[in-house]
């Protein structure tokens, strides 16, 4: 609808572009039209220092020929420019056209996961959110001395047409509010960060989660860190809190199960389909159909409806995340995971919202079961080496567990493990599944896309913690525990 009226784009135009794209013998072609408007406002030192709006529009043309992809894009939507892009992409193939006629047909939407296009919120409302966040963070504790807050939203309109005749359109809103607080005590300066949002309008920040909640959480983290001791170093039992620590799944298994890496046999998970890769307590799914979630989409960026894919079921590897190219080559069904950053990028298999299903354990009891270890509740980013399977994620808020009790906070530390076996060391899964608040952005081969993660409280029997202090020798830890038991 949007492109038809804004750019005079009729179905017969799409058909002629697709025919041009297939003119050199390509087997499949698609067009991705995008019109994205963005706005962002930021507050720093209690001043609104910046406000920005922007528009980015263009069309990407892709042609597949066997395992080969031709791609070209234009940011000028004049018909001759799109035809030129189609002609360039077409030349990935070399032969007579195999397609006599392309006919596209508009498909009804299967999902309706987020608000339909509406008027954008006015700047005053956005500024009000930031000023409220600033006040709440500063009011939390007199040691908070710097607050930065940012609001950003994006309204993306897409039209995807394929040579198989599929025509889909979608309107994809995305909003996010973030708060960063610095706390100072003498020369000790620490930071805390929180934020969230989703495929929602500004209304989200009135109902689902308020700026005050984000601000107080950022301030709380900074204040906690003022008391933090050096983190321990070496292998130990790690308990992950619910929600954002689900980044473990994203790094340890999610990327390794993207079909492109497995098609090329370069993933540490290659060849493990049907095998035990996690403890039977673990069921991990990727679900792009959760209403309003940051990682959700009505259709993926290849025009396929998103879905729910079971990656690991009771410890057994069950599924890969597919895009068009990999599902063609692997003769698998598409899973609605073909995503791209923008019209300037080729789609590839990506995660949406990736999480572990809840188990049966009481989260507090999980902590009580640990004589000595680390409890991690907040993380910065993570990264994985797909081929060796080694992954890291960086804890920004964690506490020592001593004799089943949380004792003191420790400073930032990176955790490192091996994707195909870390999940086999999960011995407890809590009943408290939580999804993150909508702050995740995943990068792969230079392309960023919004994603979600989630996890209940879990206990990982052994993981390497990258602090600076040698932990108590295990024997001593055991001893303390035995003494305690005797006293009881």
């Amino acid at each position: 609808m949007f492109f038809a009226s804004a750019y005079n784009l009729a179905e017969r135009d799409l058909e002629s572009y697709l025919a041009e794209a297939l003119s050199q013998g390509g087997e499949y072609a698609d067009l991705y039209f995008e019109y994205t408007s963005t706005s962002s406002v930021s507050l720093d030192e209690s001043l609104i220092k910046s406000a920005t709006e922007g528009i980015s529009a263009g069309c990407g043309v892709r042609v597949l020929d066997g395992e080969k992809t031709g791609y070209a894009y234009t940011d000028d939507l004049a018909p001759e420019k799109i035809l030129r892009a189609a002609r360039v992409a077409a030349h990935i193939a070399a032969g007579p056209s195999q397609v006599t006629e392309v006919e596209v047909e508009k498909l009804p939407a299967r999902h309706s996961l987020y608000p339909a296009a509406g008027a954008s919120a006015d700047l005053g409302q956005k500024i009000d959110l930031l000023e409220r966040a600033d006040c709440a963070a500063r009011a939390f504790d007199p040691r908070i001395f710097q607050v930065r807050a940012g609001y950003a939203d994006e309204n993306r309109r897409v039209l995807i047409a394929t040579s198989e005749g599929r025509l889909t359109e979608d309107y994809q809103p995305l909003a996010r509010l973030s708060v960063l607080a610095l706390a100072r005590d003498g020369s000790n300066v620490q930071r805390g960060m929180d934020g969230g949002g989703g495929r929602a309008t500004i209304e989200f920040f009135r109902t689902a989660r308020t700026p005050e909640q984000f601000a107080r959480e950022a301030a709380r983290q900074a204040i906690v860190q003022l008391e933090a001791a050096d983190a321990p170093a070496g292998e130990m039992t790690v308990v992950l809190g619910p929600g954002w620590p689900g980044i473990l799944l994203h790094e340890a298994v999610g990327h390794g199960l993207e079909a492109d890496f497995n098609r090329k046999q370069v993933s540490a998970f290659s060849g493990l389909m049907g095998r035990q890769v996690a403890s039977p307590l673990c069921t991990v799914v990727d679900d792009g159909t959760m209403p309003g979630r940051r990682g959700s989409l009505n259709v993926d960026d290849e025009g396929n409806p998103t879905g729910r894919t079971v990656l690991i079921e009771k410890g057994i590897l069950k599924g890969y995340l597919q895009d068009k190219l990999s599902s063609r080559l692997l003769r698998a069904a598409p899973t609605g995971n073909g995503r791209r950053e923008s019209y300037q990028h080729m789609p590839m298999p990506r995660m949406t919202n990736t999480f572990m299903l809840a188990g049966e354990d009481d989260p507090e009891e999980i902590i009580r079961s640990v004589p000595q270890g680390l409890y991690c509740v907040n993380f910065g980013g993570g990264q994985v080496d797909i081929t060796s399977g080694k992954f890291v994620f960086s804890a920004s808020e964690s506490y020592l567990i001593e004799n089943g009790r949380l004792t003191r906070p420790v400073r930032n530390a990176t955790l490192i493990g091996n994707g195909p076996d870390v999940m086999t060391k999960v011995t407890r899964v809590g009943s408290d599944l939580r999804l993150d608040l909508g702050i995740g952005t995943c990068g792969k081969e230079g392309q960023s896309v919004p994603v979600g993660v989630g996890i209940p409280t879990i206990k990982v029997e052994r993981l390497t913690v990258g602090g600076t202090q040698r932990p108590l020798p295990n024997a001593l830890g055991g001893q303390i525990r035995r003494l305690c038991e005797r006293r009881q």
Binding site: A51, A93, M346, G380, S388, F391, T468
Partner: protein
Amino acid sequence: MSAGSDRRGLDGAWGTGDGGWGSAPPMLTLAREIVSRAVAAGATDAESLVREGEEFSANLRLGEVESLKEAGSRAAGLRVLVGRRSGSAYSSDLSPAGVAHLVESAVALARATSEDPYAGLPEPVELGAYDGGLDLYFEDVAALPTAARIEMARRAERAALDADPRIVNSEGAAFDSSSGRRALANSRGFSGEYRRSTCSLYAVPVARDDGGMQRDYWYTIARSLALLDAPESVGRTAAERVLRRLGAVKVETARVPVVFEPRTAKTLLENLFEAVNGDAIYRQASFLAGRLGETVAAPAVTVVDDGLLPGGFGTSPFDDEGVPSRRTPVIEEGVLRSYLLNTYTARKLGLKTTGNAARGLAGNPAIGPGNFFLQPGPHRPEQILASVKNGFYVTELIGFGVNLVTGDYSRGAAGMWIRDGELAFPVQEVTIAGNLGRMLQDIEMVGSDLEFRGSIAAPTLKISEMTVAGK
């Protein structure tokens, strides 16, 4: 499909550099026009950046073309001040209606932001451009035929695959090139334009043995084709790097000397760049805030930001506010001499801009590096290794475990264990941890092997002690 038909099919359209993507008015004219329209619409000051780029990439895997991509794009950004209030906007729609909307949005936004006494464009006297030759653009990059690009990637991958029977797979090889122009104009009389070209070639082999699978990469990057390393050298180096990772083990947790090869030493310089970035300094969000004139690193450490190195990846005649690029000593023999600043952060700190403004199309300018590097020292890399009895040689770092507020540092690492001055066995699944403030002081030896593969670079470095966490 055979190589022969690739050539026939491809050269008709791909990578011919015929400029067919653009047919709009000259960029600088457009930037000036946007500025004057903004002033007419009520802006006290205005600054416009117009940028245009062409990109091409050829990806191969196991000898077959995997993807070819070609495109050109153009967009404009506008920053305006209404008094001391700032607003900005960008657009890829450069039609008259698109430009009118761009100007209208930026001016309307500026009216809604806060008065900030430090906001504003540089003073006219600060504006200007270096007028010597900088060797940033070479015609040979765009002129290379597609088939030749594919052939270079093929040769690099072939050399990697042929190096050893344990190299059993490949994530591919690629030849990428891009060229672009930037035009900047402001209402204080500045206007300037420059163009740059870049080409690169990389290979990513995968090796396997009983112990599992490993992947590594190597690349060459230059502003001219003539300056690229030979494809075979790229492939062989990638092969050596991946082969030495086979059989990697996790080591016991220990405090030991850590040697960073140039590829990982460079990441420490990236962290240092963020720590001397004026935005972090004025907010007290860096462990180096308030420390000008103090000894912050070992005497062997001299760090320079040079925006004028001929052919450099961080070289430009002027920064993104129209201030001439220059050479700024940042750390001299361990003493912190300068932060890196744009106009805003300089005013906040009562200092002068260092010509490091970097802006995207929209928003207030941030701070970017020129060519930011650690000056090479007297030691050959082998001499540095020879000085270590028991330590860790880091060849790869992953993750984001660096906190610039505190300097706390903890990252995932892989590399080689050093025993009695020699590389003994490969190591993986460990972390290295310390504090950047302490690590700078603990730089014990600096290598002679500085080489630029981007705008930030460092030679081999030895840090006297860090915690390696493993078993």
